[in-house]
Symmetry: C2
Subunit: 235 residues, 2 copies
């Protein structure tokens, strides 16, 4: 009974994972309650709770009050992707960061951006397109619409030295956002910038951010061919 005494929540988590992988607790199996496990492991219930709660957040376990804790039937692999500031991302690759403003104008946003920024009544927005370079070659093209009703200060910014990407994170923090990854065909202009052919597959990120109920900005990031988002998954 008295196992070698699991004293911290990580050790308990490891032991639970071991039992799952060793098929002692197969998928769908309802595992003992927190009090039982605490007694078995010789620790407080709160410690077991921390271990199991963390595993539930990772998608390994499913917990429901009264019903108990069971091993997930279909352990979805939950990957957490960090999307840093572009300059930071390039510098962390060991490359020299470069920036070039492509265009900047105030206009009524097209349908796709309008739906995100001002769904009720069309309002003028700032449209900025800028190129981020890594070691003098094009890394990503930032095509951004900024709501001038939410961030009127943006109208005073030239964006010729500092990118909207960088300016916004320190100026207009968001409460929540919405992000999508996809693939697209390079336009003629993009193909020219990335030194590839029109229609070449490029990786695309679409992101919109809000401050409470008010939309701040919506951006499309088109990356150079070959770009990949890479991360680990822990089960």
């Amino acid at each position: 009974m008295s196992q070698p005494q699991f004293k911290n929540w990580q050790a308990i988590q490891d032991e639970v994972l071991r039992r799952i992988h060793a098929r002692e607790w197969p998928p769908g199996h309802v595992i003992p309650g927190e009090v039982d496990l605490a007694a078995e492991f010789g620790c407080a219930r709160a410690t077991v709770n921390r271990a199991l709660r963390t595993l539930a957040e990772a998608g390994i376990l499913e917990r429901r009050r009264k019903a108990g804790t069971r091993v997930a039937l279909h352990p979805v692999s939950r990957a957490t992707v960090d999307i840093p500031i572009i300059r930071q991302e390039i510098e962390e690759r060991g490359s020299a960061y470069g920036y070039r403003l492509v265009s900047r104008e105030t206009a009524l946003p097209p349908a796709r951006a309008r739906i995100m920024l001002c769904p009720d009544t069309p309002a003028p927005c700032l449209h900025v397109r800028a190129l981020h370079l890594a070691d003098d070659s094009a890394y990503t093209l930032e095509d951004r619409w900024i709501s001038l009703t939410t961030v009127p200060e943006a109208a005073d910014q030239a964006f010729d030295r500092i990118s909207p990407n960088e300016w916004l994170v320190t100026t207009a923090p968001f409460t929540h956002g919405d992000i999508a990854f996809g693939a697209a065909a390079a336009t003629a202009e993009e193909a020219g910038l990335f030194e590839t052919e029109t229609g070449a597959p490029v990786f695309v990120i679409d992101r919109t951010t809000w401050d409470h109920a008010r939309a701040i900005t919506t951006v499309r990031l088109v990356y150079a061919p070959g770009y990949r988002i890479h991360t680990g998954i822990g089960g």
Copy 2:
């Protein structure tokens, strides 16, 4: 002083977020210690700890022992992406799931797969290619190499009714993995399956999973044109 009494950790988290967004605590600012906040909010330190720890995990705060807690300078947006079983993903879209085995053979893996599965000495692996359909139209093509040294049972599986994707999650659970998102050009065969043209941009997921030190499988999922991974980010 005595604010309207924040009693649970979520309320404290909301209040901390409010102060950050209201610029009371600007980026880089060192916020009061846990004991001080506990006194101000009229709750236990553990409650404050839970609130701040969760915010640190989300990337909003940066905490270091002795140094204290500060508002992150560059709040990276951390998106958590759920990658479910393909059948489940299709059914949750409200589509009818279909499956078709394309090819199945035992062979020595090519360089890309060999590096992941058996970096030391080449070993025969099972190569399965299968098509997942949503409402009778191609949804994703699964191109998978399975290590027969780690999962010898796979040799007995025909994979003509059940996909490797689904069989593996319930048979060979992984301890950790590695995942990458990218864009690629459709091959002639893929273009035929997806009813598009050769070279069309397609979204691709490459994933490799391990059971401790032994590689289980490496898979490339090629999605139909227009496919997007979508998720939210909470700041």
